[in-house]
C-alpha cells in the first residue's frame, strides 16, 4: 500500500519538492538553535512560550477534530461520511506529528526528552499530554491503515479495530482537554486559569479542523479524480457553523466575566489584546482582524445559499481557520505572559529563524499529509470508487 505514495504526476512531485525545501530550511534554522540556544527566538524571560507552543496548541485542536467525522460515521452510521473518514484520520496523524515536533523544538534540552518517560510524573499535566498525544498518533495510524487496507481489499476491517475506533472518540476529546489543562490549572496565570479553557479549545477545534478538512477535500477533488462528495462537505460546514457559534459564545462569556468584574488581574490581559496596555499594543491589529474575520465568516456561513456554494464556502473556511489561528495560535499563549507576574510588560514577536523552523514543521506536516492522501487517492482512483 505504501508504494502508492510514489505514484503521482508532475504537480505532486513539485509539491513534495517545494515542501522538502521548506523542511530543509527549517532543519538548518533548527541546527542554529541547537548550537546557539533558544535566544535566537523571540522568547524572553517574561514570555517563555511563543510561536512553537502556540502552534502546538492550535494543531492539537486540528488533530482532535477528526472525531467530528469518526463519531457520526462509526457511532451513528452516517454513511455520507464514508469517503471522508480516512481523510480526517490521516489529517489527525499529520497534525499530531506536527504537535510533537513543535514541542520538541521548543525544548531547551531535546536530547533529554526521554526523561519524561523514564521518570513518569502523574501530577504533571505535561506528562499526560505526551502520553495521550503519542497514544492518539498510534490509534489513528492503526485505525487509518487497517480500515483503508480493508477497503482496498474490498473486505470489512478486522473486528479488533472496532474497539480502537470507539476508543479514539473519547481519546480525541481527551487530547485537547489535557492540552487545555496545561494552561487552566496555573494559579500564576489568571488569563489562563478559567474553567472554560477546555470547552473553548474544543469548540474552536471543531470549527477550525473541519474547515481545514473541507479545504483539503476541495483540493483533492480539484487535483485528483477522487471526489469526497458534496453532502459530506456540507455536513462538515454545518458542524463548522455550530462550533464557531459556540466558540464565539464562549469568548463572549469570558469577556463578560472579566470585564464586568473589572478585576485588574483579569481585564489587563483583554486590555492588552484589544486596546493595548500602557502603550504596548503589538497584538491589537491581529485581534481586531480576527474579530472581523469571525463576524464575516459566521454571518455569511449562516446563509444557506452562500454556504452551499463551495467556492464561497472555501473562502469562509479560510476565514474561520485564520480567525481561530489568531485566537489560539497567536493570542492565547502569549497573552498569558503579559503582564508578567511582576506586572511588567515584555512583548514578544517571533524571529526569522523561529518562523523558519515553524514553517519547516508545517511543511513536514503537509509532506506527510500529501503522502498519506496520495495513497488514499491512488488506491481509490484504481478501484474506481469515485
Amino acid at each position: 500500500m505504501l508504494q502508492n505514495a510514489f505514484t503521482g504526476g508532475r504537480r505532486y512531485w513539485m509539491l513534495l519538492g517545494f515542501l522538502a525545501l521548506l523542511i530543509l530550511s527549517g532543519v538548518v534554522a533548527y541546527g542554529q538553535q541547537l548550537t546557539e540556544g533558544l535566544h535566537i527566538t523571540g522568547m524572553n524571560r517574561d514570555v517563555t512560550w511563543g510561536l512553537y507552543i502556540s502552534q502546538f496548541t492550535f494543531l492539537v485542536g486540528v488533530a482532535a477534530s477528526a472525531v467530528m467525522v469518526v463519531l457520526p460515521y462509526y457511532l451513528h452510521n452516517y454513511k455520507a461520511f464514508g469517503k471522508m473518514v480516512i481523510l480526517g484520520e490521516f489529517l489527525a496523524v499529520s497534525a499530531v506529528v506536527m504537535c510533537m515536533l513543535f514541542v520538541f523544538v521548543d525544548m531547551g534540552q531535546p536530547t533529554r526528552v526521554m526523561n519524561v518517560v523514564l521518570h513518569p510524573t502523574p501530577n504533571s499535566v505535561m506528562f499526560w499530554d505526551f502520553m495521550v498525544l503519542f497514544g492518539y498518533l498510534l490509534l489513528n495510524l492503526i485505525i487509518g491503515t487497517v480500515t483503508f487496507d480493508a477497503e482496498r481489499k474490498g473486505a470489512s476491517p478486522q473486528p479488533w479495530v472496532k474497539p480502537l475506533i470507539y476508543l479514539s472518540i473519547p481519546w480525541a476529546i481527551s487530547i485537547h482537554t489535557v492540552t487545555a489543562f496545561l494552561y487552566s490549572g496555573l494559579e500564576a496565570r489568571p488569563f489562563w486559569m478559567t474553567a472554560i479553557m477546555g470547552p473553548r479549545f474544543l469548540a474552536s477545534a471543531f470549527a477550525s479542523g473541519p474547515s481545514l478538512l473541507i479545504l483539503l477535500a476541495l483540493v483533492v477533488r480539484r487535483f485528483t479524480k477522487f471526489d469526497p462528495g458534496k453532502e459530506p462537505i456540507q455536513k462538515l460546514a454545518t458542524i463548522v457553523v455550530y462550533a464557531m457559534t459556540i466558540n464565539v459564545f464562549f469568548v463572549g462569556v469570558e469577556l463578560f466575566t472579566s470585564l464586568y468584574s473589572d478585576m485588574p488581574g483579569h481585564i489587563h490581559h483583554f486590555q492588552y489584546l484589544f486596546t493595548g496596555l500602557h502603550g504596548y499594543a503589538a497584538l491589537t491589529p491581529w485581534m481586531w482582524t480576527g474579530e472581523v474575520l469571525t463576524v464575516f465568516a459566521l454571518v455569511l456561513l449562516y446563509i444557506p445559499k452562500i454556504r452551499r456554494q463551495e467556492k464561497y464556502l472555501a473562502v469562509l473556511c479560510v476565514a474561520v481557520i485564520a480567525a481561530i489561528w489568531i485566537e489560539k495560535g497567536l493570542a492565547m499563549v502569549i497573552t498569558g505572559f503579559i503582564p508578567s507576574p511582576l506586572g511588567k510588560i515584555t512583548e514578544y514577536s517571533p524571529t526569522l529563524p523561529e518562523i523558519g523552523i515553524t514553517v519547516g514543521i508545517y511543511a513536514l506536516g503537509f509532506f506527510i499529509l500529501s503522502l498519506l492522501y496520495r495513497i488514499v487517492v491512488s488506491v481509490r482512483e484504481r478501484m474506481q470508487v469515485l
Binding site: 540556544g37 524571560r45 531547551g108
Partner: protein
C-alpha cells in the same frame, strides 16, 4: 506489491522494532550497577528552611548589592546585558509589583516604590513542582528546599509558566561568556555553571547549608554596615530558631498569599 513480499516486510519491521526496544529494556533490567560502596542515608530532622527579609534594612542599596553580588558570585550566575535574556537568582523590584495585593491607590510613594529583594520562595505547596514533567524540580523532604536537578531538566519551561513570582530564569544561551570573573580571570566559585537550555533559580545555598554555612546572601549582608539582620535564615521547624521567633513577634507579609502556594520567604514591612 504482492502479499508475500508485504508480509516479509511487515515481519521484518516488527522484528526490528522488537530488537530496537528489546535490547535497551534487557539492558535496564539486567544491568547490575553493583554498588561497591554504600551511600548511607541520613536521618535528617523534618525541617523547612525559611528566610525573613527586613524591608527597612534592605532599603540600603549597599546591602542589596552586597547580597546580590555574593549570591551571583557564589553560584556563577551569569549577567546578560539584555534584560530580556537575563538570569537572576535574587534581585529587587518595587513594592507595588512585589505585593500587588497590598499596594493600593494611596499607598505612600516611599513604600510604593521601595526596592524589595525577591528570590525563589521555596513554597510549601510549590506549583512549579506540581507541573514539572520529569521531577527535575521537586521539594526536598529533608529540608523543604525546592531543588533543581540540572541533569534532568529538559528545558520545557513549564515551571516558569507555573511560578507566580517570576523567580525562575531560563538559559536562553550559553552562560559562560557572561559570568563574572575575578582579577585572575577565574570563576569566583567552583559551583558548576549551567548550560543553555535549562532553568535555574535560587537554591537556598543547599551546598553551603550542607557544610553548616549560612546562605551567601545572608552572610554578605551581615558584613555590611547597618546590614546585620537584613536577611535572617533559619529552620521554621525549630520553634527556638531566630526565624520562628521573628515570625511569632513581628508583623510579616508574604507574596500572593491568596494563591495558596505557602511561600517561605517572609517580609518585615
Amino acid at each position: 506489491m504482492d502479499e508475500s513480499r508485504r508480509s516479509f516486510l511487515k515481519e521484518t519491521g516488527w522484528a526490528a522494532l522488537g530488537l530496537g526496544c528489546g535490547f535497551p529494556l534487557l539492558n535496564t533490567a539486567c544491568s547490575s550497577s553493583s554498588a561497591q560502596g554504600e551511600t548511607p542515608s541520613q536521618t535528617g530532622a523534618q525541617r523547612q528552611w525559611a528566610m525573613v527579609v527586613d524591608i527597612q534594612k534592605c532599603m540600603d542599596e549597599e546591602v542589596r548589592n552586597a547580597c546580590i553580588a555574593a549570591c551571583h558570585r557564589a553560584h556563577n550566575v551569569p549577567h546578560i546585558p539584555d534584560p530580556e535574556d537575563d538570569v537572576k537568582w535574587i534581585w529587587s523590584e518595587e513594592y507595588q509589583d512585589v505585593f500587588p495585593d497590598q499596594a493600593h491607590e494611596h499607598t505612600a510613594l516611599a513604600i510604593r516604590h521601595a526596592p524589595i529583594l525577591i528570590l525563589c520562595n521555596h513554597c510549601t505547596n510549590p506549583p512549579c513542582v506540581r507541573v514539572c514533567p520529569t521531577q527535575a524540580t521537586w521539594k526536598r523532604d529533608e529540608d523543604g528546599i525546592v531543588m533543581m536537578d540540572m541533569h534532568r531538566c529538559i528545558g520545557c519551561r513549564y515551571c516558569i509558566a507555573a511560578c507566580p513570582y517570576g523567580s525562575r530564569s531560563f538559559n536562553w544561551r550559553d552562560p559562560r561568556d557572561f559570568i563574572e570573573r575575578d582579577a585572575d580571570g577565574e570563576y569566583y566559585s567552583d559551583f558548576p555553571t549551567r548550560t543553555k537550555g535549562v532553568v535555574e533559580k535560587c537554591n537556598f545555598c543547599a551546598e553551603r547549608l550542607r557544610e553548616g554555612l549560612q546562605p551567601a546572601c545572608v552572610e554578605a549582608v551581615n558584613q555590611v554596615d547597618g546590614g546585620a539582620g537584613a536577611l535572617v535564615f533559619g529552620d521554621l521547624g525549630e520553634p527556638g530558631s531566630e526565624v520562628s521567633r521573628i515570625l511569632a513577634d513581628r508583623f510579616t507579609i508574604c507574596r500572593r498569599v491568596e494563591l495558596g502556594t505557602g511561600p517561605n520567604v517572609y517580609y518585615i514591612v
